[in-house]
C-alpha cells in the first residue's frame, strides 16, 4: 500500500509499504477512505516531538471501511463504515471505566518510555511518535486499529466522509475544550488559535451557550472563518491582545480562555522570540506564548482550557497570575469515546457541519506536498484532507 512516511525534520515522503495485518484478537483493519492532516502533525514535521523514528507512518484523523476483524472483535464486521478516534483505549481499565479514555492504562506498548517522561503512561495514539506507542498511522491506504471494539464509531451512509471525518479528532477536541470552560449563560470565551481545533472550539462554545466568542490569530483567512461563525476577532500582529480583550469585556476579562495553539505558538511579543531562540538551542522544548497570554488575559476566577498540545517543559509560565487570580486549568488529550456519538447526533440534526473547515483536498500521492503547504499556510490553507484510494462514492 501507499503511506505517508516520516524520515526526519521537514522530511516526509509517500512510499510503498507492506499492508497491515491483524496482530491482536480485538484488532480490525480499515481501508482508509478519507484521512486528514492535523495541526499537531506539523509538530512532528517540525521535529518538536521526541521519539520519532525514520520509517514511521503518520496520520491520526481517518475513517474508512472495515476489511478484516480479529477473532475477539464482536462489535465490528467487514463492510462497516467507521470513523476512528485518534486515541487508542482498551475500554476496560480504571481510566476507561471513568470515561478518561485518553488516559487508558493498557494501550501504549511503550508505556515505560512515557513513564520516564510523565511518571505514568497515557493512551496509545495513532502515528504520533513512539512515546505514545509508535502505532502506524492512517495517512495510508490501510491501517490496523487496535481495540477496534472500543474506538471506531459506525456512521450512517447518508452522511458524507467530509461531514463525519472530523469526529476522529478536531471536532471532539474543540468541543471538549469548550465544555471544559464550564460555560454559563452570558459567558465570553476567548480562543487563541483559529486553526481547525480553534474553529471547532469557537462553534462548540456557541453550541454550549456562550454569549460571545473572541478569536485571536493573525492569519486573515482563519480570522475570516472565525467571523463567519459569529466570533469577534483580534489580530495579535496589529493589536495589543490584553487591551483588546479587556476593552471588549467591560474591563473584566474573558470568563474562560482556550489555548488552541499549543507548543509551537507563533507570536509577535518579545517573550515569543526568546522562546524561539531557546527552543532552537534546545534549552526548552515548548513555546508557550499563547498559554502565557491566555493566563494573563483571563478574568479572576476564570478557566484556562488547553486543547493545544504540549509535550515537555514550559519556561516562565506566569504562575503567579494563575495562582493570584484563582484560575482553573483543564487540559489533556481528548476523551474521544465520550464525545463521538453525541457529536455525531449533532451532525445528524444539522446543528453543525464540520466540513466547513476543509480548504484543500489531495490524493495520497501528493500528501508530502500537502504537509509543506499546510506548514507554510500557503493558499490560505486551513485543513487538508487526503483521499488514499481516490474519490469514493461518499
Amino acid at each position: 500500500m501507499k503511506a505517508l512516511v516520516w524520515h526526519g525534520t521537514n522530511d516526509v515522503r509517500v512510499e510503498r509499504v507492506p499492508d497491515p495485518a491483524i496482530l491482536n484478537p480485538r484488532d480490525a483493519i480499515i481501508k482508509v477512505t478519507s484521512s486528514a492532516i492535523c495541526g499537531s502533525d506539523l509538530h512532528l514535521l517540525d521535529g518538536y516531538i521526541p521519539t520519532m523514528q525514520a520509517g514511521d507512518i503518520l496520520g491520526h484523523e481517518f475513517m474508512g471501511e472495515v476489511v478484516d476483524v480479529g477473532k475477539d472483535n464482536t462489535k465490528l464486521k467487514v463492510g462497516d463504515r467507521v470513523v476512528v478516534p485518534f486515541t487508542i483505549a482498551c475500554g476496560r481499565c480504571f481510566f476507561c471505566e471513568k470515561q478518561l479514555w485518553s488516559l487508558c492504562d493498557n494501550s501504549n506498548p511503550n508505556a515505560w518510555m512515557a513513564e520516564k517522561l510523565y511518571g505514568y503512561t497515557t493512551s496509545g495514539l495513532f502515528g504520533y511518535s513512539h512515546l505514545t506507542g509508535g502505532y502506524a498511522g492512517g495517512q495510508a491506504q490501510y491501517v490496523r486499529v487496535p481495540f477496534a471494539d472500543v474506538g471506531p464509531l459506525k456512521v450512517p451512509n447518508r452522511l458524507t466522509d467530509e461531514q463525519v471525518l472530523f469526529l476522529s479528532d478536531i471536532f471532539p477536541t474543540g468541543y471538549m475544550a469548550a465544555e471544559n470552560c464550564g460555560i454559563q449563560p452570558g459567558d465570553v470565551i476567548a480562543v487563541w488559535g483559529c486553526g481547525p481545533v480553534g474553529q471547532m472550539a469557537i462553534r462548540s462554545a456557541f453550541l454550549l451557550g456562550a454569549a460571545r466568542v473572541i478569536a485571536v490569530d493573525s492569519v486573515p483567512g482563519r480570522l475570516r472563518m472565525a467571523t463567519e461563525a459569529g466570533a469577534e476577532v483580534v489580530n495579535f500582529e496589529h493589536d495589543d491582545v490584553f487591551e483588546k480583550l479587556r476593552a471588549a469585556t467591560g474591563g473584566r476579562g474573558p470568563d474562560a480562555c482556550i489555548d488552541a495553539v499549543g507548543l509551537e505558538a507563533h507570536g509577535a511579543t518579545l517573550d515569543a522570540y526568546i522562546d524561539q531562540a531557546k527552543a532552537t538551542a534546545f534549552l526548552a522544548t515548548d513555546r508557550p506564548n499563547a498559554l502565557r497570554q491566555a493566563i494573563h488575559c483571563c478574568r479572576k476566577g476564570g478557566v484556562v482550557s488547553i486543547p493545544g498540545v504540549y509535550g515537555g517543559f514550559l519556561d516562565r509560565i506566569p504562575f503567579g497570575a494563575a495562582f493570584q487570580k484563582g484560575l482553573t486549568f483543564r487540559m489533556g488529550q481528548t476523551h474521544m469515546m465520550k464525545y463521538m456519538k453525541p457529536l455525531l447526533e449533532r451532525i445528524e440534526r444539522d446543528e453543525i457541519d464540520p466540513s466547513f473547515v476543509i480548504t484543500h483536498r489531495f490524493s495520497i500521492d501528493d500528501a508530502a506536498n500537502a504537509y509543506y503547504l499546510f506548514r507554510d499556510r500557503k493558499n490560505e490553507c486551513i485543513k487538508v484532507i487526503l483521499k488514499p484510494h481516490g474519490e469514493t462514492i461518499h
Binding site: 503511506a3 512510499e15 509499504v17 480485538r26 507512518i57 482498551c90 502505532y135 502506524a136
Partner: protein, 236 residues
C-alpha cells in the same frame, strides 16, 4: 551479629519451616526418638530465630559461598539483586491468583521466560532466555501458598539462577481491583550465569519486572498485550 543477613522471603520461609520442624521435633521428643527429637527441635528453634530476627548465626560464622546454589546461603541478607514492584489490576484476587498459579502460563506475560513445566504440585522446571540465543534453566518449588493471597517460591539446588520470590494479591484500597505486589531476589551476578542474569535484568532490575507486571495487567484486563510488532513501516 547485629546485622540482618537473612532475606525477607527466606525469613518467613525459615519461620514457617522452623515452626513445622519444631512441631515434628516435639512430637519425636514425646515419642520414640528423644535425642533426634531434641536436635530437630533445636534446629527448628534456630530457623524460627532466623525468621523472626533476620539474623543467622550460621551465616555469620561460616561466611557465604557465592558459588552455592542454595537459596538460603546465596540470598541471605540483601545479597544479590532485590526487586519489589506493584501494579493494580481491575480484576478480583481470585482471577489473578488462579492465572499466576497456573505456572505454565507465566511465559505469556514474562518476556524472558521460554517455558515453565510443572514437575509436581509444588515443583516446576523453568527455562529462560540468555544472551547469544542460549538459555538458563532451574528448578523451583513453591514454599508458601495461601490461595487468592500469596505465592512464594525459591529455586532448588543446581539452579543456573538462584532466586526466591513472592507475589501477594490484596483488594485495592479504593475497592477498585487488586493490588499485585511482587518481590524477587536474585543471586549476585557472577561468572557465565551471572552475566546471563545481568543481561536478563539490564541496568534497571525493576524494569523487567515492571514490564512483566504491566503485561500481566494488560492480558487480564483486556485479553491481549498491546503491541506494534509486525505492523508496516517505511524505509529507515
Amino acid at each position: 551479629m547485629a546485622e540482618v543477613n537473612v532475606a525477607e522471603v527466606e525469613r518467613w520461609a525459615s519461620a514457617l519451616g522452623g515452626a513445622a520442624l519444631a512441631a515434628y521435633g516435639v512430637k519425636n521428643l514425646r515419642e520414640e526418638h528423644p535425642v533426634a527429637g531434641a536436635m530437630i527441635a533445636a534446629s527448628a528453634g534456630m530457623l524460627i530465630y532466623r525468621g523472626a530476627t533476620g539474623r543467622c548465626p550460621v551465616y555469620s560464622a561460616t561466611g557465604i559461598n557465592t558459588a552455592d546454589t542454595d537459596t538460603a546461603s546465596v540470598l541471605s541478607g540483601d545479597r544479590g539483586v532485590n526487586v519489589e514492584e506493584a501494579v493494580t489490576i481491575s480484576r478480583s484476587p481470585e482471577e489473578l491468583y488462579a492465572c499466576w498459579r497456573d505456572l505454565e502460563r507465566l511465559p505469556a506475560f514474562m518476556a524472558h521466560l521460554v517455558s515453565v513445566t510443572p514437575i509436581d504440585r509444588l515443583r516446576s522446571h523453568w527455562v529462560a532466555k540468555a544472551p547469544a540465543g542460549r538459555t538458563v534453566e532451574w528448578d523451583a518449588e513453591i514454599i508458601n501458598e495461601i490461595p487468592n493471597e500469596l505465592l512464594a517460591w525459591r529455586t532448588l539446588e543446581h539452579a543456573d539462577v538462584v532466586s526466591a520470590g513472592s507475589v501477594r494479591f490484596r483488594p485495592a484500597d479504593n475497592g477498585h481491583g487488586t493490588e499485585v505486589r511482587v518481590r524477587l531476589q536474585y543471586g549476585p551476578p557472577a561468572g557465565r550465569v551471572g552475566a546471563a542474569v545481568a543481561w536478563l535484568l539490564g541496568n534497571d532490575p525493576a524494569a523487567q519486572i515492571r514490564e512483566d507486571l504491566r503485561h500481566f495487567k494488560q492480558l487480564l484486563e483486556t485479553g491481549e498485550i498491546a503491541t506494534t510488532k509486525g505492523q508496516p513501516r517505511g524505509e529507515r
